[in-house]
Amino acid sequence: MTALTLHAPVLLIALPLLGAFATPLIGKLGKGARNTFVGLIVLAVAGLASLLAVSVFGAGGVPTVYELGGGTFTFPLSGGQVPIRILFEVDGMSAFMGLITALIALTSAFFSFSYWRERSGGDLYFSLFLLLTAGIFGMVMTGDMFNFFVFLEITSIAAASLVGFRVWRKQSQEAGFKVMAMYTLSGLFVLLAIGLLYGQYGHLNIAALANSLQGSLTDMIALGLLLTGLAMKAGAVPMHMWAPDAYGEAPAPMSAILVANSQASLYGLFRILFTLYGVTVSTGTMGWILIVLALLTIFVGVTMALIQSDLKRLVAFGAVSQIGYMLLGVGVGLAVMATKPEYGLVAMQGGIFHMLNDAACVGLLFFASGAVIRAAGTRDLNQMGGLGHQMKWTSIFFAIGAVALAGVPPFNGFASKFLIYEASFKLSPFLAVIAVLSSIMLLAVFVKAFQAAFLGPRSNASAHVSDPSPGMMVPMAALVLVIIVFGLFPGFFVDHIVTPAAKALWLGRDAYINAVLGG
């Protein structure tokens, strides 16, 4: 293992953090220098995330442990030693989330270079963007509960600032306040739960806590608080009120990374359910709670998308509904975790694969709708129309993103949704029916939006529009490439990156604990 791979978990956090603080200084040299610097940082981060993923997936399910300020202990510990420093612990699932975050950070940074060119305040914009990226990487890499809370709050502050970044829009100020209030509340729930756990066991390290967890009444209260807080931050119905506002009001490329942020909270939820609590609670009950949340999220998200006339908000509700599919897949996996039938792992694979696919599709849709709104000068679908005549490529990209998200073959959304349908049908046919019907409804929603915006006669809005500059086209094309490649060769990706991630959650609790505390 090279030194770079060894330090990758911390560099993934430290480099964007360095970028976040240095960007305003380098911005004084000019926009070109700043964009080059930010571009180099995200490229380095993407390289490190891939390197880490290769190393972790190659290790065959043994998590990598990194000790901050190390040099004292060697891991795994032996002879009843207790981890006292902050640890980063990277298993298959963390590495997988790192890949998603790197993909979205890379594309949205390069999209932003063109998207934000004429606007002022770019230094702060990229500074907050890098801070958010650092926070997301921190959330998915950390092996320490309190450290998780700190990174959760870093993402909250950066994300809410980005939602309210356009201070001249009154709606974004409203959304920003709402988002920050909900994020703070969810963070405090998580902190209270961490306090309850620490008070009982005296550990903050996830592996050490998992090892000593008893499943007492206090643990259950802590679990309830963690579940509420993290589901709230992931935007699951009925705590979703902030999510469409946030996705809709943030600048388009930042909506994409906000989705990655929601997924990081979802990761935290899964980490807590599978690794921290695992068998100490009734996994069947917890699984069914997730499934109910999932069905509500899918249903409410799709129905609310149906009645929107604001293009960005419509996509935002689509993004909310997709969180439900991830919860459904993983919920089915959790519900049957005790008996471990074959289809449980399939459900986990579906749910986790859908995270990656959702990030790519929703990212593409937000980019495309941002480009459309920028060109047409309106967000209202009723005032658009006929944009497809001049914006050929954008309309094609939007269409690909929409059908992929709705789960139409041969795109990637179908690959993951099919796994979810298949596995949830085996648990209960009712679940699969709701999931399939909602997907069809989502397709209808996007067909309506596509027809309203791109087809039909030329309208006032479409008089002087054109496809955006190459700086915005290339990131969209890159995401289209991801969507098509994942759709055509799902087997390869499921085997090599999704299955290790699913197994790390579903079967990897002992491996996670042993990597720190020793067998």
Binding site: H7, A14, L17, A22, L25, L68, G69, G70, G71
Partner: protein, 158 residues
């Protein structure tokens, strides 16, 4: 007066006190590795002196003493120097305390275990990090206070 600043009593007292507050803040930062306090607390104390100036003299009174642009630059410098200090030990691990117990002149003294009178020259990177954090916090909070004042003043004139 044009609602700018407060009465002569407040302003006179402020003139006496604000230097002492800043001095106390620096003391708290300096002894962060030995006594309660540290970078954040000391920085907050220093920033409170700036806030006091702002309240007593109004925004015009602060002009020429504190420049928002300069404050924001110094905040970035504080954050970057903290990160740079953390990167120093990357040969072993991020945040590795390179200077502790090294015997060198930069806080490298070793400390006896148990109760002691406090060794100022100990702590390695920790006192340096306290200064970095202190710089960031004092300038950051001062900037927040100034921005909020400017924001609320605009509203009054509207």
């Amino acid at each position: 007066m044009k609602n700018n600043g407060m009465s002569i009593i407040v302003r006179t007292v402020t003139r006496f006190v604000y230097g002492l507050i800043i001095l106390f803040g620096f003391y708290v930062i300096m002894h962060g590795h030995l006594s309660p306090g540290g970078g954040f607390q000391g920085g907050a104390v220093v920033a409170s002196a700036f806030a006091l100036l702002l309240v007593a003299f109004g925004s015009t009174g602060l002009k020429g003493r504190l420049n928002l642009h300069w404050l924001q630059t110094m905040e970035e410098v504080g954050a970057l120097s903290f990160l740079a200090l953390a990167f120093l030990g990357i040969g072993t691990a991020f945040f590795y305390n390179l200077f502790a117990n090294s015997g060198g002149f930069l806080f490298g003294a070793s400390v006896p275990t148990g109760s002691n009178a406090g060794v100022f020259a100990a702590g390695g990177l920790v006192p340096l990090m306290n200064w970095a954090v202190g710089l960031k916090v004092m300038t950051g909070i001062a900037a927040i206070v100034i921005i909020m004042l400017v924001g609320s003043r605009k509203e009054e004139t509207e």
